[in-house]
Symmetry: C2
């Protein structure tokens, strides 16, 4: 082992599913040259991040070492891998590399955030390699649920790393490259030091199914429906969208794509050449004129997203199209944990419209894009790495994946976000823990997850908000009593009287008793008024609200 070392450091995606961001480094400890694999987002939820628009990995560690970053590599165009490129690029300022389809999306994201899209360079598939510092790097095609997904082959002086990215083993994926066993055998031939490997489906015990296995069932279903068929899936699953469209055509239906993301993905696929034979579609204006039994819509919103086409159809109308009794809505998708309420809600709205809803029905109309447990093991056995480093999974997935590796005689390491692992020796070795976290895109601004802003919003949501206002004149004498505004709180409480009035009385009484030292000290006054207001609220309403005290001193 040389003085130099090869390190792996996940900043996002290891210990969670989302916001992937992995760092590799090679060089003298503390001075390694760095590359970044993926810059993704994760999505907010009302429970923990109300009002937040997007969540990014905190890349402060990288930003502080900006001058050592030689490149950013994007494995594929899913939002949790490419979504933060535009938002975080300014902090990293390094060339971005991707294959054509992925680069197409990365460039748009750069442009949207005011960066030069030419910072994104297109690379062809492995065996094309790019020498970047001490790394020699290539994009090894792999099957997943979006075109041109790739693993990274990272050749280093300390050996070869294969970073799978998201993958499944699919020999007939419909659109995009089939899993090429020979190519992978070839890429693994020189010996692989470490396989950094997708863990998402490690708890799924059965072998994964091919995307192409769905076509017969979907085709049959679409043909059998008397009314209009509306199907939703992940817009980026171009193969699925194609299968759905072909099923529509086979059933003698005109096909119409609804939702910006859906149209954008298909256009990108055609433009970059990954899709050449997509059936012809009609625009929404024309769809309105087609008899329902001859029409199929393919729409965005498989997760029940409020603004997507599916939710708008559920509420009534989208682009002049409505659903009606006798129509069928197909979820050719699975519901991501946390989205159940939204999905169930639109299912019930469709039910109220008399629409029959069909969901994935235990896998009949959807397959996962990730390798199941036996496929993960098959990957280990194909690549035969010296060590396995599980990534892309919650803690429980990573842990189970390490077990799987060890049970099969390979070294493995549990390395959640912030765990810096040296891959140089014969076994993975944790060399450091780095502080990691999340950054929120909040409207137009990026805020730290620990800034307390979102915490305050959650508190107002849970407890309501009381504003206490007090005017104090030049002589430190209160001008009248404090008064209050209640927001998000009931007007009357246990006593049946106005809570605001009772609170103002209590605050007034406190002011009568307050001594000069308190009256001169804003902090003290703030603290005491807050206490009184909270106590009144607790007596009357049984809860202690957030209180903001505004003291105006005339001068």
């Amino acid at each position: 082992m040389s003085e130099n070392r090869l390190i792996y450091l996940p900043l996002g995606g290891a210990g969670e599913i989302g916001m992937n961001c992995y760092v590799y480094g090679y060089g003298t400890p503390g001075k390694e040259r760095l590359i970044v694999v993926d810059l993704g987002v994760t999505f907010p939820d009302m429970d923990t991040t109300p009002g937040v628009d997007l969540i990014f990995p905190d890349v402060s560690w990288l930003e502080e070492r900006k001058d050592r970053i030689d490149g950013i590599f994007i494995t594929h165009a899913h939002e949790d891998h490419v979504g933060a490129v535009g938002h975080l690029w300014g902090k990293l300022d390094a060339p971005v590399y991707a294959r054509a389809f992925t680069a197409h999306h990365a460039r748009r994201k750069m442009e949207e955030q005011g960066h030069n899209p030419d910072k994104v360079q297109v690379m062809g598939p492995w065996p094309e390699m790019r020498q970047i510092g001490d790394f020699n790097i290539g994009f090894l095609p792999v099957s997943h649920s979006i075109p041109e997904s790739s693993a990274m082959v990272i050749e280093t002086p300390d050996g070869r790393v294969i970073h799978t990215g998201d993958f499944k083993i699919d020999y007939d994926p419909g659109v995009g490259e089939a899993f090429d066993r020979d190519l992978w055998t070839e890429a693994s031939k020189p010996g692989v030091k470490a396989l950094v490997c997708d863990s998402t489906n490690v708890f799924s015990g059965h072998e994964g199914r091919s995307e192409s296995s769905l076509a017969p069932e979907i085709t049959r279903l679409v043909a059998e429906q008397p009314g209009m068929v509306v199907a939703t899936t992940f817009a980026s699953n171009v193969a699925r969208v194609k299968t759905l469209a072909e099923a529509g055509i086979a059933a003698g239906r005109s096909v119409c794509l609804l939702g910006r993301a859906m149209r954008r993905m298909i256009e990108a696929s055609v433009e970059t050449g990954v899709l050449s034979d997509f059936p012809s579609t009609i625009p929404p204006e024309d769809a309105r004129e087609v008899p329902r039994g001859n029409l199929m819509l393919i729409v965005t919103g498989s997760q029940g997203e409020r603004r997507a086409a599916s939710a708008q159809l559920a509420r009534g109308k989208y682009m002049g199209l409505t659903m009606a009794e006798g129509d069928t809505f197909l979820f050719s998708s699975k519901t991501i944990p946390g989205n159940e309420r939204g999905v169930i809600s639109i299912m019930n709205q469709f039910s109220e419209q008399g629409v029959d809803v069909v969901d994935d029905d235990g896998g009949r109309y959807h397959v996962s894009g990730h390798a199941n447990r036996p496929d993960i093991l098959a990957m280990h056995e194909l690549v035969r790495p010296q060590m396995v480093v599980p990534m892309h999974g919650e803690h429980r997935h990573l842990r189970e994946h390490v077990k799987l590796a060890k049970d099969n005689g390979r070294a493995g390491v549990l390395a959640p976000n912030g765990t810096c692992v040296s891959l140089s020796g014969n076994k993975p070795e944790v060399v450091e823990y780095v502080e990691t976290g999340r950054v929120y895109l909040d409207g137009a601004v990026q805020v730290g997850a620990l800034d307390g802003i979102v915490r305050d919003r959650i508190r107002m949501a849970l407890n309501g908000h009381v504003v206490v206002t007090l005017i104090i004149d030049e002589d430190d004498t209160p001008l009248g009593d404090p008064w209050v505004e209640l927001v998000g709180l009931p007007e009357t409480g246990r006593s049946g009287s106005s809570v605001a009035e009772i609170m103002e009385q209590d605050l007034g009484q406190f002011m009568q008793r307050a001594d000069d030292r308190t009256l001169m000290d804003d902090d003290k006054l703030d603290e005491q008024l807050r206490r009184v207001a909270r106590n009144t609220a607790n007596d009357e309403l049984g809860r202690k609200p957030e209180v903001t005290v505004v003291i105006s001193r005339l001068s």
Copy 2:
């Protein structure tokens, strides 16, 4: 058909799963004497009801007809059937009837809300009947996932109604009465006008499994684990708790129950005689002294509830007990839609502790308490009613259940909350739509779902809150400029300067320009200041916050 009529009116539980409340009436239209079946709660969530403690059906319709209510019947002791008895009883003021185990819980709920528990009367199982006005009513035992669940047999001058309550067909439920086919045949013999029937699992195509089918798998699992085993299930599933405890004993483990609800349920079961042979348990103090391999905990919190024993163990400690590497945590439960994030979160915390988590694993360690589609159909065929009225389900479940009935040659009616159906004729007939809704228990106060209180909290959570304060003197002249407090919003925005300062400048400039008529008119001033503040926030932060304007006029 006489001039009198028999009506059915769901006020809760039809069109949702939760807060069950069904009304039956008999008499001259508009003057029917009424009975109520079940008074349940539903649980809040952060997305739609942040800060709310419990949700009840709005029983205004009943309250306005209070003098016509002859009784309240509780089918079983699940919270969505009995949970609102204490909170709503004051509005209805009628005797409550239940079987012993259910009455035990109903009485506690009455006491907790300051009502006389003796208002709850115990009835024995059918064929015991109680004549109440024109109704003759009995509790017909049925299997479910809590002891002494019952259907209601409601004999009326227009025929017999059977209201199933929650049920499954289980001939070996472990604890409580097995499904008694003969008894049900007997109760159906006089001919049944309407079967008002549980719809929860109408989409589950396979026949339901018996509670007792779980014992071998659970026993094997518990015996095989080297470390401590901690299992969670719904506390009210007394049969399951017993199966788990017996598995512990069989494996030579001491068993300890953790969590108030768990202990309370077992105590109630023993007290009311539904459970006579529960294994002996040890208190937590003693459990601490038992070697891990000889210990089993049965704990509350199968839904990841933050304050339950499971979540506290996941965070570190509960009653002096902690989990450790090599221990096993079993979810002998299913995750109710909407609770996924909470459950997954504690799974990962356990993973971080080195604890192996086992979930229901596709039904190996959990069975549902509700009848699946074939069992629902079996119930139709057993009771052979003239008409089927689906209840206890979301809209999609009710709709599917009506289809199922019709496909099998029976009349059915889709009657979501508020649909008043006459059952007197040969077919169900919708006679009226009644306004229904939800009432929130918010701290100590009941508030209407449409009062806007929770809406304001959601808005503050999504948008943040700005408080604008302005003092105006006796001559309608502003005393200084308005100033602002931002809560739940970033301090600095696009320009990099303090948002509060920029907003105060903008508001100050507005005040300079404001004419006398505006200055004299609080409403106009409020509207204009709000507009200015929102525009500044939008420019700087890219979002429009909630704004509260406080104008203080000196006098």
